[in-house]
């Protein structure tokens, strides 16, 4: 055990940091893009506050199209786009773009579902009190949906962790890459097992923390 840690501890730690970086940075950008998209979906749908079939159809189809493409294909398909956005297609920087492109529509969908659960009655009550739509979105819809939103984001984070495993293909490293490069290609299964155990622990922690926060926020 001590020998294994001595030999691999440093690499595993580095990979863990890379995975964490990739996940958190892409999560932040995905929320930044996904939240407004989700709100747009809720507002522009039929009988929404800004009922607009054209805008809804465009956003809705775009999200469906992106979500149809498997991440590994998206990663290569987006290479030119990635290059034009961040100036490189490799390393952590290079993998953030495809991760965000894949994750933002997913988050938009999860947030849409969460926000649609908010009772129409409360929204109507706030409209009847003369509160403007932007304030209703933030202080009523997102507030009331916050527990489901956290659960949705938990799912998104776990999905992201999985997708970062493919980051190795563009040289971004991470736990998935470590398991593949050493565990599979160089046939050192103990590295693969160690990585799998670490991933299981990370996912367990993320899910438990998500559940806990969601329960705290629910209040009923």
């Amino acid at each position: 055990m001590a020998g294994f840690l001595n030999e691999w501890g440093g690499s595993i730690w580095d990979a863990f940091i890379q995975t964490t970086q990739m996940t958190l940075i892409s999560l932040a950008f995905s929320i930044l893009i996904g939240l407004p998209l989700g709100v747009l979906l809720v507002l522009t749908r039929r009988n929404g506050q800004w009922d607009n079939p054209i805008a809804f159809t465009i956003v809705n189809s775009l999200i469906n199209v992106i979500r149809s493409i498997p991440f590994i294909i998206l990663l290569f398909f987006l290479l030119p786009f990635t290059k034009s956005v961040v100036g490189t297609t490799i390393g952590v920087k290079g993998v953030i773009v495809p991760l965000v492109v894949a994750c933002a529509p997913y988050i938009a969908r999860l947030l849409e579902t969460a926000m649609l659960e908010v009772s129409k009655g409360v929204i109507e009550a706030y409209q009847s009190m003369g509160i403007s739509t932007p304030k209703i979105i933030w202080h009523v819809i997102i507030r009331e949906a916050r527990s489901s939103i956290i659960l949705g984001l938990t799912i998104a984070i776990i999905g992201l962790i999985g997708e970062t495993a493919m980051a190795g293909f563009v040289g971004a490293g991470g736990l998935g890459d470590l398991a593949y490069q050493f565990g599979y290609v160089r046939f050192q299964p103990d590295v693969m097992y160690a990585v799998i155990i670490i991933l299981i622990i990370i996912v367990q922690i993320v899910q438990s923390v998500g559940n806990l926060i969601a329960r705290r926020l629910k209040k009923n």
């Binding site: 706030y126 509160i131 009331e144 527990s147 926020l217």
Partner: protein, 337 residues
């Protein structure tokens, strides 16, 4: 205070058009409680939503304090809405906020100064009697308590008008009474004009000054509650008041009673109930009145007594007796086979 002129509203569902409101006109005076009653689907909900434009009428005009609401821009409409409180059947509270926050949040979003929010929230919590539950969440409250929070939230805007959309329909009879009592106080002590819709006759009876009866998107009858209650004109209104159902007597018994005299339904209003009409009848006209059924309905400001009376005796004597009744301060309706 509120004036609706020739309001109609048509919804399109696919190719079908649904006329929810057809040429509805009514006026609500300052300081009164005006009720609209009708079965579900009569258009009441659409009507109440037309006042603060949660629903825009297809045709017609809506005036609130002589201002044509339909011509207001978004900003002015929002300002006007703050002067019109609204409560709902489903309470519509924030589930994630405490009782206090539910009252304070809308005020905060409107930019009311902090001190004033605190002062108003506490004042109206006290008025609805929930000061001790200020830190509870809606899920910890009963239906009646939730409706009280909703009322406090509406009152905290210090509105001049309160719209009530079936506010008691989800509550049990005791809780309904308590909420109606509260609405009555709000009307009397704070001078707030109340416009309510309901399918419960009890609500109209207990607190309303005037009433409109709706059926299929139209107002079929309107007037003071006492008038509509004691002299219903339309079949629809009668169905609601259903005095006949209350005094339903088996056909066989009715047949027998009609053989020996007349059956009359007497309605006594307020003061007239004190005169001993039936005793006079027996003494002066040599007929034998007997009470078959009876009851008292309590309206907001007065009581209404109903009696189903059988008058036995010679045909001519019975007829003079009935004529005498018509001359009294009593509403008389003959019941025939």
């Amino acid at each position: 205070m509120i004036k609706l002129e020739h309001i109609s509203k048509t919804f399109r569902v696919g190719k079908n058009k649904i006329e929810a409101l057809k040429d509805v006109s009514l006026e609500v005076n300052k300081g009164e409680i005006f009720g609209v009653i009708g079965f579900s689907g009569a258009g009441k909900s659409t009507l109440i939503r037309c006042i603060n434009l949660l629903e825009r009428p297809t045709n017609g005009k809506v005036f609130v304090e002589d201002r044509n609401v339909l011509t207001l821009n978004k900003k002015d409409l929002r300002k006007l809405r703050r002067k019109i409180g609204m409560i709902f059947q489903g309470y519509n509270l924030l589930e994630t906020a405490t009782v206090y926050e539910n009252i304070a949040t809308p005020l905060r979003l409107e930019g009311v100064p902090k001190d004033e929010i605190k002062q108003r929230a506490e004042k109206y919590l006290d008025i609805v009697g929930l000061t001790d539950r200020r830190n509870a969440f809606p899920s910890q409250l009963s239906g009646g308590q939730k409706q009280r929070v909703a009322i406090a939230r509406a009152l905290a805007h210090e509105p001049e008008i309160l719209l009530s959309d079936e506010a008691t329909s989800a509550l049990d009879p005791n809780t309904t009474d308590a909420i109606l009592e509260l609405l009555l106080r709000v009307n009397k002590e704070l001078g707030i004009t109340i416009f309510l819709i309901t399918h419960e006759l009890n609500v109209i009876q207990r607190i309303c000054d005037r009433v409109a009866v709706m059926e299929n998107g139209k107002v079929v009858e309107q007037g003071s509650v006492v008038d509509v209650f004691t002299r219903p004109q339309q079949a629809m209104t009668k169905r609601f008041i259903s005095n006949e159902a209350k005094f339903a007597i088996p056909a066989q018994l009715r047949g027998e009673l009609l053989k020996t005299g007349k059956l009359v339904k007497l309605t006594f209003l307020g003061e007239s109930s004190k005169d001993p009409v039936l005793a006079t009848l027996a003494k002066q006209f040599d007929v034998l009145p007997s009470i078959i059924a009876g009851g008292i309905d309590q309206l907001k400001d007065q009581s209404v007594g109903n009696l189903l009376v059988h008058i036995k005796g010679d045909q001519s004597k019975v007829e003079t007796a009935v004529k005498f009744l018509h001359e009294q301060d009593v509403l008389v309706e003959e019941v025939n086979a």
